[in-house]
């Protein structure tokens, strides 16, 4: 019995041997490595975020993927980023203008529990900026269509002398109505085209804005 007590005193009784400790440190290191790897994979990913979103880095640090904004969006525009689009941003909200457009109701901001989306005024919201795809735009290739010009709520689409749409990047707030209603993919579907003639891109991801 004396031996036993001795062993206890000298700490032989602890399950935390040197080997076990190394294993634990290794496990923690694997988790840290996983984080770094995913961050590396997602370093260039940019998405159209709901209104009031912080800058991409800040947004990712605060979005807990609780899906509240996606649930309340009345136009069904907010959808999760898919695994095929980005591993780092999977399940975070993005705007899918194929499904709808942003009517700036700001309900997503109201329900966001973490402040990843923060209250902004309708006048200062910038979701992205629309760009005309001259290869796909019906007006630029055939002529005749002025849908985006007619429907833009912010008069951010102008027509040039040949009645082709041009985006006024200062007026455009990226609400996505133009992309949503653009008939290009339907009219050109016989070519196998699925793209829209006007698409909203994240600010900074497409052409740099002239200031």
């Amino acid at each position: 019995m004396g031996d036993r007590e001795n062993e206890i005193e000298r700490g032989f009784n602890s399950p935390l041997t040197r080997r076990a400790l190394l294993g634990l440190v290794g496990q923690a290191a694997i988790v840290v490595g996983l984080g770094g790897f995913i961050r590396f994979l997602g370093r260039k990913d940019r998405f159209l975020r709901p209104p009031g979103a912080l800058t991409e880095g800040e947004f990712l640090s605060l979005c807990m993927k609780c899906q509240k904004c996606q649930e309340v969006c009345p136009t069904g525009t907010i959808t999760p980023v898919l695994l095929t689009e980005s591993v780092a941003s999977v399940a975070t909200p993005k705007l899918n203008f194929r499904l709808g457009y942003c009517n700036l109701c700001m309900r997503c901001i109201e329900v966001c529990p973490t402040g990843a989306l923060q209250l902004t005024k309708e006048e200062t919201v910038r979701l992205g900026v629309a760009e005309v795809d001259r290869e796909r735009c019906v007006a630029w290739t055939w002529g005749g269509c002025t849908k985006c010009y007619q429907l833009c709520p912010f008069e951010a689409v102008a027509l040039d002398s040949s009645q082709r749409p041009i985006v006024d990047t200062d007026r455009c707030n990226g609400c996505g109505l133009c992309e949503h209603i653009c008939p290009s993919s339907a009219l050109r579907s016989y070519t196998g085209s699925t793209g829209r003639g006007i698409v909203v891109v994240p600010i900074g991801a497409g052409r740099p804005r002239e200031s």
Partner: protein, 291 residues
């Protein structure tokens, strides 16, 4: 008599239904990550810590909802792990009777139990830990290591890393992928990959809950504040206390807690209030004291 296990499965299912209902009605109650609406939510404490470290902010907007979680843990302990977590639900339903323990583990546990009964009477505390006890304790340490790694990773790389592989998130991700498939006609790779990863975590890494889950580890730490509804042994009724064989409570405990010898096993801070010990005790010697 309805089995406690069935009650647990029903409870966890009700929570999932609440999430789905909120989703269908566009209430915005979110998933379990931050469950609740109209300004009152329960926010995942691990998510909160990760976000605070990742953004290097104190996030006062989340204090109320995290305080609600802390309060619930003080009152009910680590109940989340047994009664709410969808991963636990999946394990109980698919890994089968006895729930959280794999069959092999269970068989091994039985062998150990009989050996121990012969070797030492449970009432006499022997200072030395047996190999099986050491393993149990090491497993619980391993969760804390993963928790530490998770928090460090969030701090270094600026985003809540664990949320990407969290079984709770993967469960709801899979569920929403199915909903998108049927209601929005949008098939996605998530339909395959999320359930596959979830299955890998719960089946291949069978001891996920006991040796990996950092959320469980965090709940254990907070669970040490819990003083209510702790299972205690009535020594007058307990067979083992009278020197008779029989340790049904220890074998039933999915966390590996030995109610008679807490020093040699995990302590009650790890108790998930699953009530298996309460149900399995043949002489009803386990009491749940309110305070």
């Amino acid at each position: 008599m309805i089995k406690i296990r069935v009650v647990r499965v029903v409870t966890a299912s009700i929570v999932i239904l609440l999430v789905l209902l909120g989703n269908a009605c566009k209430i915005g109650d979110g998933t379990i990550c931050s469950l609740g609406a109209w300004g009152i939510s329960f926010t995942c404490p691990l998510g909160f810590l990760q976000m605070a470290l990742a953004s290097r902010k104190v996030l006062p907007q989340l204090w109320l909802s995290v305080a609600l979680v802390l309060l619930s843990i003080i009152v009910l302990g680590r109940f989340f792990c047994a009664w709410v977590c969808p991963a636990a639900l999946l394990r109980e339903v698919f890994i089968g009777k006895g729930g959280l323990k794999s069959k092999r583990e269970k068989r091994k546990g039985k062998d150990h139990a009989t050996v121990r009964l012969r070797a030492s009477s449970p009432s006499s505390p022997s200072g030395l830990l047996e190999p099986s006890q050491k393993k149990t304790i090491l497993m619980s340490y391993s969760r804390y290591a993963v928790l530490g790694g998770t928090l460090l990773s969030a701090l270094l790389f600026g985003f809540p890393v664990f949320c990407l592989v969290c079984p709770v998130g993967l469960f709801f991700g899979s569920l929403f992928a199915v909903i998108r498939l049927f209601f929005a006609k949008q098939p996605s790779l998530e339909l395959l990959l999320f359930p596959a990863l979830l299955g890998l975590e719960l089946l291949a890494l069978r001891s996920w809950c006991r040796s990996i889950c950092p959320l469980g580890a965090l709940l254990s730490i907070i669970g040490s504040l819990n003083r209510f509804l702790r299972p205690t042994v009535n020594k007058d009724k307990c067979l083992a206390s009278q020197g008779l064989p029989g340790r049904a409570c220890k074998e039933a405990c999915p966390e590996g807690i030995d109610l008679l010898n807490e020093s040699g096993s995990l302590s009650l801070k790890d108790c998930t209030k699953c009530l298996e010990c309460y149900e399995k005790c043949p002489v009803k010697a386990i009491e749940l004291r309110l305070v």
